[in-house]
């Protein structure tokens, strides 16, 4: 078979396939063209495969694309898990850092006692400066 003959055969085959496909699809067809097309065993095989393909597509509706969804939901779950992990890590990190800070520089334990028993009195004055009218009491005395 020459190249031209093969091309013509392939073309005829495609035309025949389109005719039987139109039959399967409920489209208007030329009965003579259909008869001619169905004479070809290859075209009959094509028709059978077309019906099988249709049934397979029909089964797809009963079977949602599980893995596609799982992959998507995994991405969604991964996002939430990453966010939760980030929060948990920051909380744990904060706790540990706080613990180390407390241990490294512990506050000194200073005890302060305040005596309120009233027995203590103010110390005695070492020098008494009497107030005299007309005398500048802020005037400095030598040596003081």
């Amino acid at each position: 078979m020459t190249r031209d003959e093969r091309r013509a055969s392939a073309e005829l085959n495609e035309k025949s396939c389109i005719v039987v496909a139109a039959l399967a699809d409920g489209e208007p067809i030329d009965p003579a063209a259909l008869k001619e097309a169905l004479d070809d065993p290859g075209v009959r095989d094509y028709l059978v495969d077309l019906i099988a393909l249709r049934q397979s597509v029909g089964r797809m509706s009963a079977l949602p694309s599980v893995q596609w969804r799982e992959r998507r939901s995994f991405l969604s779950r991964a996002g939430w898990m990453a966010a939760a992990a980030a929060v948990a890590i920051s909380l744990a990190g904060g706790y540990v850092a706080g613990q180390r800070t407390v241990q490294g520089s512990a506050a000194p334990s200073v005890e302060t006692f305040v005596d309120f028993d009233g027995s203590a009195s103010a110390p005695k004055p070492t020098r008494v400066v009497p107030l005299r009218p007309g005398v500048n009491w802020t005037e400095k005395v030598e040596g003081q």
Partner: protein, 163 residues
């Protein structure tokens, strides 16, 4: 509003099925609601039932495209891997989803509008803004590509539900 109610009752399942294959069932629920929310904000075209359905799917398609684009911007890529522990039907569904992902966006939309939404070629033509011939051609290409992928994948071997 009554228009929106009628459209919602008649087409919510088709819209949801179509969106489900593109964005997954969870987002498809939200997008389906969004489709009909937009319908309440505007006036449905005064045309036949097919024209209205095509109009709804055009809205759904635009929303799905925006959603996928936004997901890519956020870096949420869809990665599907075969799991040997899955039952054969689910493995095949995953293989089919992978094969759908390998289609060009327009081919995939055309295919899903036909197979999941149940639109006619003319309706797909309106929803995707293509000629009817382009719809036929893209539909054939998508089916051929999916058929080849499933045949060569482990799920497409003779002992699988595909054959």
């Amino acid at each position: 509003m009554a228009d929106a109610d009628v459209l919602f009752t008649a087409h919510r399942e088709g819209i949801f099925r179509y969106l489900c294959r593109i964005v997954g069932s969870e987002d498809a629920r939200e997008l389906t609601q969004e489709v009909f929310l937009r319908v309440t904000r505007t006036t449905a075209p005064q045309t036949d039932e097919g024209g209205r359905r095509a109009w709804l799917f055009r809205i759904a398609r635009n929303l799905a495209l925006n959603h996928v684009r936004d997901d890519r911007r956020r870096g949420e890529t869809v990665e599907i891997t075969g799991d040997p522990a899955l039952p054969p039907t689910q493995t095949l569904a995953l293989a089919l989803r992978e094969a759908l992902d390998r289609l060009s966006p327009v081919d995939r939309d055309v295919f899903l509008m036909r197979e999941a939404g149940g639109l006619t070629y003319d309706e797909i033509s309106f929803a995707c803004q293509l000629t009817a011939d382009a719809v036929r051609s893209r539909l054939h290409r998508a089916r051929q590509q999916l058929r080849d992928t499933l045949r060569t994948s482990p799920e497409g071997r003779s002992d699988s539900p595909w054959r």
